[in-house]
Symmetry: C2
Subunit: 155 residues, 2 copies
DNA sequence: GCCATATAGGACCGAAGCGGTCCTCTTTAA
DNA sequence: TTAAAGAGGACCGCTTCGGTCCTATATGGC
C-alpha cells in the first residue's frame, strides 16, 4: 500500500498529455485516444478535475477541456487532492481529531513529520517538471525539504 | 489516499509498546491491553510480524512475543513491508513490469523518484526514534536524503 | 501425567471502497 | 435543426480489508 488510487494515476497521465500543449482544447475522446486510457474513465476524471478548478471546459460542439493554469502552477499534490481526497499517510494525518488515541499516541507525531515531507515533495513537483525532458532530478525537492524544515520550527 | 493500512498503523503502535521494554516477553493479550487495541487484531498482527522475522515468539504457558532485533534495527519500512506488502506510490513503483504503459509513460520516472524519497525516509525512521522523547526532528531524515541522491547518480 | 495457558495457522464473513459503465440532460457550432 | 460534446449522476460488480472465531500445537507448573 501507501499507494495513490488508479484514478489519480490516470489523472496525472491525462494532465501531462494536456500540459504538452497547454493552449489546445482537447475533447475527452481525444485524450483517451492519446493516452490509451478507457474513454469513460477519462471523462469521469476530467469532470472531477473541472469541479476542482484544475481544468476548464468548453461545452457544445468543438468543446473540450483546457488546463485552468499553466503547467508550472499545477502540482501533483493538487491533482491527488482533487482525485483522492485529502491525503495523509495515516488517518490522523489526513483528518486530525478523528482518532481517539491521538492524545496519548506516541507514533502520531512521527507520522505527521513523514506526512509533511511527502506533502511538500508533492507540492513542488509540477506538471511542468513532469513533461520536462531528461531524467528527473531530486534537486527539485530541495525547496520542499527547506519548507518542511521551516514548518517544523514554527508550526 | 496515499495512506498506510490500519493494520500497519496498529502494527507500529504495538511494536513501539514492545520497544519500550525490548527484553520483556509480552503476551498478545497484554499488548492489546496496553495499547487499547482489539485483542484479535493484535494477535493477527503479531503472527504476521513473526513470519516476517520482526518479532520472535515463545509458545506455551508464560509464552509471548519479543522484538527480534533492537529497536534501532527495526525501521518503519520493514513494518510496512511486512503488514502491507511491497510498498510503492504507484503500482509500477511497487512491482515494475506489470504496467504495459511503462515503456512510453512520461510520469513513471517521476513517481519512482518520489517513491525513492519516501522509501528512504521510512528506512531511516526506526522504532528507537519513535520512542525517543521530545518532538521528532526532521534531521533524522538527512541520511535518507543523501541516500536517495546517491541512488540517483548510480542507479 | 494432566491441565491451564499461550501461540500457530487458517477459515470465514460482512462492510466498504473503488473502478468502470451507462443514461439522460444541457449547451453550442455549423 | 442537428450533431457534437460536456455535466451530472445512478448503478453495479468486484476486490480488498478489517475483524472474528475455531482448531491444533507447544510448554510450564502442579
Amino acid at each position: 500500500m501507501l499507494r495513490i488510487s488508479k484514478l489519480a494515476d490516470y489523472g496525472t497521465i491525462v494532465l501531462t498529455a494536456m500540459a504538452r500543449e497547454p493552449a489546445w482544447t482537447f475533447s475527452a475522446a481525444e485524450l483517451a485516444l492519446r493516452t490509451g486510457l478507457p474513454a469513460p474513465s477519462v471523462s469521469k476524471i476530467l469532470k472531477i478535475l473541472l469541479r476542482q478548478g484544475i481544468v476548464v471546459s468548453l461545452r457544445g460542439a468543438n468543446g473540450g477541456y483546457r488546463l485552468a493554469r499553466s503547467p508550472a502552477e499545477i502540482s501533483t499534490v493538487q491533482i491527488l487532492n482533487a482525485l483522492d481526497g485529502p491525503l495523509g499517510v495515516t488517518e490522523c494525518s489526513a483528518s486530525p481529531g478523528l482518532c481517539k488515541r491521538e492524545a496519548h499516541c506516541g507514533t502520531r507525531a512521527h507520522w505527521h513529520m513523514i506526512n509533511r515531507v511527502v506533502l511538500q515533495a508533492l507540492e513542488h513537483i509540477t506538471l511542468q517538471q513532469m513533461i520536462d525532458p531528461g531524467r528527473p532530478r531530486l534537486d527539485v525537492l530541495r525547496p520542499a525539504w527547506r519548507a518542511a524544515r521551516s514548518a517544523e520550527v514554527s508550526p
